[in-house]
Symmetry: C2
Subunit: 351 residues, 2 copies
């Protein structure tokens, strides 16, 4: 059975391309003695998470507790949750996970650490704790070495939590100097920083330039979306996630409408690749200039050949992580031959 027999729109995953992407990034990590902890938020598939671990990853990264629950239930044993967990309900769910497998969390405040410690200690469980440091991205993360060291000391005294080290995202030009200052401050207080976890696909191949980094995380590399192709981290032929869609209307000579909109591709724009909401593989000169929920608006004026109503085309989405979260299932294939229709098991896990 071939993916072409499936109705549209259908998201497809090329398992050969996935394997090439795993081999490339794991190879880099092996070469530089870096632990690799891929982020499953891009694929949300236990099957691919196991492929990553079998290829050499030390464990996986999840953004949400609900993702970690799916992954642990599917046999993944070493999980970092990279998002601050707040509230009694989440703390108890973390404790339950930590009793069954290796768990670590990252956060930037004592409030988060305190809540998790109570639940973990009550459950007789332990989780690692990474102090999240803002090294230039201006999202989450402590702002100064002093704040980092104070949080490290605070965590080190708490039952149920084990101070393991630092986490930052992404690896930026300022990351090395910032990490060195934080590590110096923490060491001066007699604490050891065993793990320094950094990452992000766009700057992945620069991580070896910061010797303090011990572990790297990356998500989007696994599929290679239009953003990755644009920034050069994944070549076009290794873009593994593609959405098969149908031209459902050709109202004018230039305009075509596809049966994929924001509900299928996401409305995420990608600044690095300019305008447009996806790359049509068969019509690379076409511009997907606008999306509504179900409609993809295409300007075919730059194309010599133009599709008829009913033609199926293949779209590489702007942002794989957001795209995959919209699909209950993906069609996994090798060279077009269907391997299986896999449920996106960790899709929609917002809590």
């Amino acid at each position: 059975m071939d993916v072409s027999s499936l109705d549209t729109p259908f998201a497809t995953v090329d398992l050969d391309a996935v394997e090439r992407n795993i081999a490339r990034l794991q190879g880099y990590c092996n070469e530089h003695g870096l632990a690799f902890r891929p982020h499953i938020k891009t694929h949300k598939l236990p099957g691919i998470a196991h492929m990553q671990v079998e290829a050499g990853a030390v464990g996986i990264t999840c953004q949400k507790l609900g993702e970690a629950e799916v992954m642990q239930a599917a046999g993944l044993r070493d999980i970092l949750i990279s998002f601050p967990l707040i509230g009694e309900g989440k703390a108890e769910r973390l404790a339950a996970l930590a009793r069954e497998g290796e768990l670590a969390v990252a956060a930037d405040s004592a409030a988060v650490a305190r809540g998790l410690s109570q639940a973990l200690a009550s459950a007789g469980a332990e989780a690692g704790f990474l102090v999240e440091c803002d090294t230039g991205f201006a999202r989450t993360g402590v702002q100064t070495p002093k704040e980092a060291a104070e949080l490290a000391e605070f965590v080190d005294e708490l039952p149920g939590l084990r101070f393991d080290g630092l986490m930052t995202y992404p690896t930026l030009p300022g990351t090395g100097p910032a990490l060195r200052a934080v590590i110096g401050e923490i060491n001066s207080r007699g604490l050891e920083v065993r793990t320094v976890s950094a990452g992000g696909t766009p700057t992945f191949f620069t991580n070896h330039e910061v010797p303090e980094i011990t572990e790297v995380r990356a998500g989007t590399y696994i599929y290679g979306d239009r953003g990755c192709i644009g920034n050069g981290t994944v070549p076009l032929e290794d873009s593994a996630l593609r959405v098969r869609v149908t031209v459902v209307s050709r109202p004018t000579a230039d305009r075509g409408i596809l049966d994929c909109g924001t509900k299928t591709l996401t409305s995420d724009a990608v600044e690095t690749v300019g305008s447009g909401y996806g790359l049509i593989v068969e019509y690379p000169e076409a511009n997907v200039y606008s999306l509504h929920e179900e409609h993809g608006h295409v300007d075919f004026s730059g194309c010599e050949q133009r599709p008829e109503v009913g033609e199926v085309v293949t779209v590489i989405p702007n942002h794989a992580c957001a795209c995959t979260n919209l699909h209950d299932q993906v069609a996994v294939h090798r060279g077009g031959g269907l391997v299986g229709v896999w449920p996106v098991a960790a899709r929609g896990k917002i809590r």
Copy 2:
């Protein structure tokens, strides 16, 4: 039990506000003798679809076949699918639905009509057909009265399909003149236009100014998102869909990070309300200036009071339809008292 007992992020639906929104738009339709066929793509909930029909709607509109299947299975009997259906698989699914309930479709090409006709005729079923006309929106829709009339004649000859009339979206200043020209052309060929379906929430209350319109559709009005508040179609107090979220980080005096990003709110921007990805009800001066998948970035510099880590706040999303599609469940309430946690039954129905 109160919605405040639920973990975050959690999408909540205020049933009192929903009822007010239904009453307001159904009241307008009753006053002007217009049939109302609300679009369920915003709520995707059979429970609310039944409320709309009980209040006087003639039926519902679905964008996708998968939505129509959910709705028919939940007892909705009169359904318009407003998106062009292409392919044998979809045609057979339409035929199965059309044998059990009243079904109509809209499209702008003979290719679509031909495919549907074959499957419907084979199944001994019939569906209504509306010729979609572009009256100024430049999405789908035939471009000229001649094209509309030719498609109407073509459909009128096909088994399994019944030419019912016209559909357009949205109702714009050019809609009246365009519809009159199309109806004139079709009438001149001896065909009757029984139904003229128009709509859209933003211009809903102008539909009576176009006497040709017999039926109106609207979706977003049911929840009233930041877009509706901005364009004045739904007052703030009737915005029924709100997402309870937690402040998970306060890395600087001005910046706060919420546990809601594009996976919870959507990355849809709303041009009419300026920048930002949502309105924080408790901090209306705050600016949700950026979203990542799980992180909402807020600038609280305009607020006198600012939240602590752990505080729960309420966000009105930019675009309700895209938001609700991200949630497996919504917490339905009256005045905060939980009515139930409803599965968003027609979520993710992209086919």
